[in-house]
Symmetry: C3
């Protein structure tokens, strides 16, 4: 697959800035980082930190914004492809060059499909896939080996479910969802009523309802609701090894990074970012556009947008101020101790001098 | 499935309080939250926080304790089903209404069973199950697709092993255990002897011994022992993505919540609760009935029952007192700084006035 | 399998110290902890803490270093097998006695192998294994049920891939690698370009390159690179439920303990130890021989070897000093408050006396 410069500009809405000394660029055949791109490849500058790399790159063309283009102009031999958001454009160009290749198509005779399941004829089912009673698999969706789709579950159109991911009974995936290997949708929530000696299981009979364009990372787990559904809003992205508890509701376009856990019945708004290893307690509410930094422990609702950090979670500027003040307290104490020791010492020296 | 009021009371030990104005209740056919239950359904009030919902609910009957029943009496149209522990009764009623449906029964010809394995004729083995040499699967147990039971392992009666869960060789599950999808029992423990350049693997040749009524969450991992067994006591419940290291011993009726990790050789007593994302270092002892709050780092043995929190773990009341005092130190410093600044400013103002 | 004393000494480089009163030792048939070893078994003393157990043990022979041997001599009936590093020797002796037994060999007709894959005739493929187009499986490697090897991926010689582990397309495992059950190599990295309403996926088209003698724990995840490879150096050991982000580079002989996460593009040197539940932010560098203690949050590069701990990460000695000083501040405040209260009280008492 190759793109001429004009096709690229038209398709992705870029404007070419061609420095006089720029190289002659033929069809572009791929995309690569600034440091390794060749003349046939496009690269991108999404962070001014890498401005120097954009000067020395061998890339035929570099996606960048207008401000970077001005600074680069005359200093690089690459064509500059100016666009509003070079990172988004990079993503779209990359999607153009790299279409997923599955290495298999059609429905394998080694898949097991319950007779009451409905599989769209354009879907791909690898060997060792299991689809249960009444389940539905939509057009063009691809189910890799070891994928399990439970009874009455629905997989929308154009989904990719990687090896050994599991969608238990009564769950729904919207269109264009991606489940990475080992992801589990609809495992039992953690609900027990303790009598003391015995922990009586509360059947988890809700499902999971996942909107369009959601991605779930490798070995992540989204538990089914106890009585109602756990819900993940469209465009939300869940990283590897994340745990979403039962009855949780997550809004649109959120990012939940690696190893974060959200406990049961918590409701998270739209465009929320939870960085890696964050923990959110159960039965809380997190407002739209909140950002929670890595390893933070959220034990109370966060009703205002803002950046939160620490255990317990505080606004980031408060956390930093608190840490700085405590650091000063500590260093003053150390200073005092040093002075006391040196006073003692000089006293002792004077005494020994006096002798 | 339906229950008449008298059957329900007899079976679950409830007493009916019927307010004069209460609705006429026919057979009850299900269970639902207060907010969505209908006249044919039972609901429950396990937390006084939700008292208002119990007044406005449309549920035909509400499980509650005597104290709540008194407060509700005359304010709700639902029948009140008074019982000692409404949450436990809710769990048991829910178990009555919701029996797991597997959508498959019998032993699939697409399962692979070693000729020396012993499968009880009442067990269910889905397609793509593997059972190794000398392994045993007990009566009525259900093994979903992709389940692996290694050589000489034993699965007790009435277990449910969900898709792609793994029980490696030489492990044992007691009766009525549940493994959620992707759970791994008996992966190698993390044991290596470093020479500097090389990390020499220590073969992990112990097994895992899991008592009756244990549940393990989605993608959790219970590692096999190095030489002896890792042990999980009966009625203990392990949540999704938990990691239990090699040689760990966990007592009866513990709760280990999501993403918690227990490092090698630690011994945990009975009825211990570890909340989410807790870390417990290796070679420690945790006393019976200890509760550890979320994200806590336990680096020393906890010999007394109590509630612990923080990094490093402290008794919760000490942690809260320490945080409060440090908060006061910080706010005093901020106050001082503000006063200094305003003194400076007023001095400057006076000086400018004097000019 | 059994070893005579002289074979053992020759093969593993030990010297026998036989106390006069020592038992007569025949062939040694296994290895066990000090507390449970019998006369036919070898045990080991790798930590002076267990010196007393080495005195009372029933083991036929005990691996120990020269200093322990001196202290034990005359106090134990076991033969002492003196070696430089008894833990390493224990590991090697253990490897001698415990060769992995897989309970299956050859290529199952129930495995699915793409016609363009190359499987060494000495490899073992259990039922329900999938090997994709152009993939390679090396000599003597063992692939358990549910293992997926994607297109053009390579599995080196003598690897063991346990049930339901996944190696996606375009990844490489060196010789003697072990993947525990459910481990995922090459899941998509977490890369999206947010437009606000939409999170545009950045195709993850790099692979994962894993060196020789690497082990990956149960349900761990090593994400594929965005454009280039994620790299794990030889002899590095990765524990259960660890998450390695895209483009990460890990050097030789590192230990990454359970539930630790390393975010994208971070570079970790050689012989680095990350204890359990550590989080390392993205785009950092960690120097050779750094040790990071459990639950630490690393948000800046660590350029010097040393032991780090806390959130944010500090040198361990600084962390401990800071905690000790803050503890003192807290206890002084508590003391002051107590004194104020008792002064108030005694004043009040005096006043009441005066009345």
């Amino acid at each position: 697959m190759a793109l001429s410069l004009s096709e690229l500009c038209e398709r992705f809405g870029c404007v070419v800035f061609a420095p006089q000394q720029s190289m002659v660029v033929g069809p572009l055949t791929g995309i690569a980082p600034l440091s390794s791109a060749t003349q046939e490849q496009i690269s991108f500058l999404a962070n001014e930190r890498y401005l120097d790399d954009a000067i020395t790159t061998q890339a035929g063309a570099v996606l960048c914004n207008a401000s970077c283009a001005e600074r680069l102009f005359g200093h690089t031999r690459s064509l500059l492809l100016v666009c509003r958001d070079p990172y988004v454009t990079f993503a779209r160009v990359s999607q153009f060059f790299f279409k997923p290749q599955h290495g298999f198509s059609g429905v394998s005779p080694h898949a097991f499909i319950d007779s009451s399941a409905r599989i769209d004829p354009s879907a791909t089912l690898f060997p060792f896939v299991y689809v249960g009673p009444g389940a539905v698999v939509g057009p063009r969706s691809v189910l890799y080996p070891g994928v399990f789709v439970g009874g009455a579950s629905e997989v929308g159109a154009d989904c990719i479910i990687y090896p050994n991911a599991v969608v238990r009974e009564g769950c729904r995936l919207g269109e264009r969802c991606i489940l990475n290997p080992g992801a589990v949708i609809g495992g039992d929530g953690f609900g027990f009523a303790p009598t003391g000696d015995e922990n009586v299981k509360i059947p988890q009979v809700g499902g999971v309802d996942i909107g369009a364009d959601v991605e779930v990372g490798s070995n992540a787990s989204v538990d089914r609701g106890a009585l109602l559904n756990t819900v993940i809003g469209e465009q939300s992205k869940i990283d590897s090894l994340v745990q979403i508890g039962h009855n949780v509701k997550i809004g649109r376009a959120c990012f939940i990074a690696g190893q974060t856990g959200v406990a049961g019945s918590t409701e998270i708004g739209h465009r929320v970012t939870l960085a890696g290893q964050v923990g959110v307690a159960g039965h809380l509410k997190i407002a739209d556009k909140v950002t929670v930094l890595a390893q933070t422990g959220v034990s109370q609702s966060l009703n205002e947008p803002g950046v939160y950090v620490g255990f317990p979670a505080r606004l980031n500027r408060e956390f930093l101020r608190r840490e700085a003040i405590l650091d000063r307290v500590v260093s003053e104490r150390l200073e005092e101790r040093k002075n006391r020791l040196s006073t003692k010492k000089s006293k002792a020296e004077r005494q020994s001098d006096e002798l």
